[in-house]
Amino acid sequence: MLKLDNVDVAIQSVQILRRVSLELPTGTMAGLIGRNGAGKTTLMKSVMGILKVSSGTISFDGADLLASPTFKRTSMGIGYMPEDRRLIPDLTCEENLLLPAWAAKQADGAARLERVYRLIPELRGFASRKGSQLSGGQQKMVAIGRALMCGDKLLLLDEPFEGVAPALAHRLVEVVANLKREGMTVILSESDLQHSERMVDRLLVIDRGTLTAR
């Protein structure tokens, strides 16, 4: 279970998140909805430890996340896909997928990669193509796969369908929906309900840093 309790986050003295509290049981798929600048990315980055929490607590499966640096949170099974994908252009798709295995020295990297290929079979098709040779949608797919390499329990997907052609966005929706069947906890952010409405169990609406569950 992911639990946030009265979390405040400020960036350069500007308060972004205000007393955010949230409980997400294991296996929940939550849609985080809000306008640009509402605090969606800030919330995800706070869970990952990329942004510092000024007050409040965040725990995952009973462990205090705030006590661990970002790189240790991934070893708890938390994966994060940033909005801008951030693939390494000179590495192949497969190498980009393997980066977390290299980074975290995962002994079961090959098994994790197989799991990713099972969940997103398309990735095998462009495994040997460089990151720079992939379309925006394909890059999103690789980025989700890379997040899955770490995140076998909790997945944070920041705007996974943003800027993707409709046909590919439809496929990405299927991919994300399949994760729910895997029993994973997923938070995916969107600026509107265009793609996520039908697949999410819970809708979290964020506005000016304040979270309201619907």
Binding site: P69, F71, S75, L99, W102, A103, K105, R146, M149, C150
Partner: protein, 311 residues
């Protein structure tokens, strides 16, 4: 996937040096040995540069390695070349391990200038230390190979043979390291450190490890230079020495572990020829050649080989 030819190329280069060495003029043996010593320092800088880090103070470890080797001879009359190199490498690695806790926190210009500042502190200390010859430095005991000292006409070749062996082993080790998970993270660290963190690695730890390896290589190079030249002085820690290493790194490029040695050799040749032709303005020739490389080969001399492969 193309076969990895780097190990075989390195071994062939090493064998070629050993085969041609006995017939080459003495001055070329000296030039080549110094180039190999500097190449070791640049090999470390190349590793750092792949992570996006530019150390303006790598001369610190070059000088430390040289002084560790020199002082072992001066104080304890140790002359075994491998012992001296090991001492140089270990001293530099240890100092880098300690300083790394501070330096690995900084990036870009702050990392560069902090490393420069520390090397200048060492320079200042050495200049003021009369027991170590102040600004004049001191002569290093002639080195031996497992207690054996070659005849005078074979000294340069022997040192070159050791240098070539050490350089090949170091280059092979770094090449292998670059293929390991930690080594392969370098472009990710250079591109975006935060991404490395959320993929499960501590960028700071990774930088620290690379910093220590780079320092160990610089220390090894320094000890090798000390035994080759036979004299050490504080200039080895001066900022111009660090600048020379950066110069060679840019000249060589970061495309292969062979590039630093090629760059160091080309640098040595340009320096020697320019000094011969124009003793008062040789720096201008060096500057012009660096300018030409930056303009026409922004990825360094090694990109010439890459282009040929691509073609």
């Amino acid at each position: 996937m193309r076969p990895d030819r780097t190990p075989l190329t390195l071994l062939l280069i090493g064998a070629a040096i050993l085969a041609v060495g006995p017939f080459a003029p003495q001055w070329t043996l000296f030039l080549l040995t110094v180039a190999l010593a500097k190449g070791l320092v640049v090999l470390g800088l190349m590793m750092l540069l792949r992570c996006g880090l530019v150390s303006f103070g790598q001369a610190l470890y070059y000088c430390l390695g040289a002084y560790a080797a020199g002082m072992l001879g001066r104080l304890y009359e140790v002359s075994g070349v491998f012992t001296l190199m090991l001492a140089g490498m270990a001293t530099s690695a240890f100092v880098a391990f300690v300083l790394g806790f501070l330096l690995a926190r900084y990036r870009s210009i702050f990392f560069g200038l902090l490393s420069l500042a520390i090397s200048m502190i060492l320079y200042g200390l050495l200049v003021k230390t009369e027991a170590l010859g102040s600004s004049d430095g001191f002569n290093v005991l002639p080195s031996t190979l497992f207690g054996w000292r070659p005849a005078d006409e074979w000294v340069r070749y022997s040192v070159l043979a050791v240098a070539a062996g050490v350089a090949v082993i170091a280059a092979l080790a770094v090449h292998r390291y670059l293929g390991t998970p930690l080594g392969r993270l370098a472009p990710a660290i250079k591109d975006n450190e935060i991404r490395v963190e959320y993929m499960g690695a501590s960028a700071r730890q990774a930088v620290h490890v690379k910093y220590v390896i780079a320092a160990a290589l610089a220390g090894l190079g320094g000890a090798l230079a000390a035994t080759t030249v036979g004299h050490i002085d504080p200039e080895m820690a001066y900022w111009t020495t660090s600048g020379e290493f950066i110069f060679i790194t840019i000249l060589a490029g970061t495309g292969s572990v062979i590039a630093p040695f090629l760059g160091a050799l080309i640098f040595g040749i340009i320096q020697t020829v320019a000094f011969d032709i124009s003793p008062n303005t040789w720096q201008m020739v060096l500057g012009a050649s660096l300018l030409a490389v930056i303009v026409f080969l922004p990825r360094g001399l090694w990109s010439l080989f890459r282009r040929r492969k691509a073609a």
